[in-house]
Symmetry: C2
Subunit: 229 residues, 2 copies
DNA sequence: ATTACTAGCAAGCGAGTAT
DNA sequence: TATACTCGCTTGCTAGTAA
């Protein structure tokens, strides 16, 4: 699942399921992992129970369960306990990480369709021009390409890219609000997506800016399909 | 924690705790997230219960609990249910991801101390020379720098780097075993760590190879402290 | 001090079934 | 068919306390 393991170092042979069986014990495992993935952890059931907001007895029981499941090596003395995570536990955490990564950071390609704007794109790009150039590193063609986008996928896309903020300003006696955008590539053309604060568009339409006139350069018409990266 | 959120897109205002409260429900949340982070999920409690190996009634109860906690929007009909994750749920998953990343992929710097080898490094580097050059992209100085390493941190380091395998071979009437290694930098010198299959070293000593004689180049003596990256 | 057993109690599960 | 309520039973918790 994208995570390489070095079995000769970790001595991992087989890892059963992505998350550890009974779920509350998982919190204890995470707590221990935080204290030291490969190191010996010395503590007491009382202090752990405080951290995990449960009872001393429960921590004691959980520790023994984790040990029974082969997730930790456990030694208890009359001054506390001492434990280390086993390769199985580390593998289990890695699987959990891989699973979450898989869910949260997938495919960064978004399909869109060219639509007609109401023509105000040009006006705004001209007003924001200097600031856009500074923010995105290119002088945008004065006009925007309006794209109808599959919103769920755009959200995914956004989660993996850095947002760029363009501060608002006053000019010609009126206020221009802040706007957020992010670098993106339409086909092979590097440009940026803009998310104006207030917009007259329906929610699933975004504006794309680029150094050149994209409709001409890429021979785009309304309903042309494009891919954002 | 390293994950940027775009509140204007996700409408996240405050996210309470990294993992969702009662832990078994977490499995359901993950299941739903896999089916679609931002999309509407249509299913039935019976089919989900099969996937999660629990009862139909339990899935029904869990769904209502997740909805009560504001983690999902839930609508039930007499043909099944329909749900979407809320920003709070996505934030919760992101926190979980960040937490695991934090635990499993931290600091990739390892301190080590120069120690004396038994002198066999030169012999082996000379025998493996061509293969090492092919594997790592540089012609190693015929000799190894032996480093005493903090093993837990080395394991961490290994988890984030790609392992390179050098196949074994026969030469001069004897067998030379396969060995694993990985690219690493000692100070500013690019080289590689070697993990021979069988070694006469204690477990916390590794061998470092580089294009030049490091002891001379970096004026290293026994007990000199070095940093691996 | 500790860990951890016992026992009584609370929470959670799921078969039956209402809606 | 669905969802979801009831209720008997199991699982798991924690106070008391032994070791």
């Amino acid at each position: 699942m994208g995570i390489t393991r070095y079995s000769f170092l970790l001595n991992v042979t087989y890892i059963s399921n992505p998350f550890i069986p009974q779920a509350m014990k998982r919190d204890l495992l995470l707590y221990l992992a935080k204290r030291g993935l490969f190191e010996e952890i010395n503590s007491t059931t009382a202090s752990v129970s405080k951290a995990l907001k449960t009872s001393q007895q429960t921590v004691s029981r959980w520790l023994r369960i984790l040990a029974d499941q082969g997730l930790i090596e456990l030694e208890t003395t009359n001054t506390g306990f001492s434990t280390t995570l086993t390769p199985k536990a580390i593998g289990s955490l890695q699987d959990g990480l891989a699973e979450l990564k898989d869910i949260l950071q997938p495919k960064t390609e978004v399909k869109g369709k060219v639509v007609s704007g109401v023509g105000e794109g040009r006006y705004y790009v001209e007003r924001y021009m200097d600031r856009l150039e500074k923010a995105f590193g290119f002088k945008p063609y004065p006009g925007t390409l309006n794209l109808k986008i599959d919103m769920p996928r755009l959200r995914m896309f956004c989660m993996n890219e850095r947002m760029v903020r363009v501060q608002g300003f006053k000019k010609e006696g009126r206020e221009f609000g802040a706007l957020d955008g992010m670098h993106a590539q339409l086909g092979n053309v590097k440009g940026a997506i803009l998310f104006p604060k207030r917009t007259s568009h329906p929610e699933d339409i975004i504006e794309f800016i680029a150094p050149n006139n994209l409709r001409r350069q890429l021979k785009l018409k309304d309903n042309s399909e494009v891919k954002l990266r």
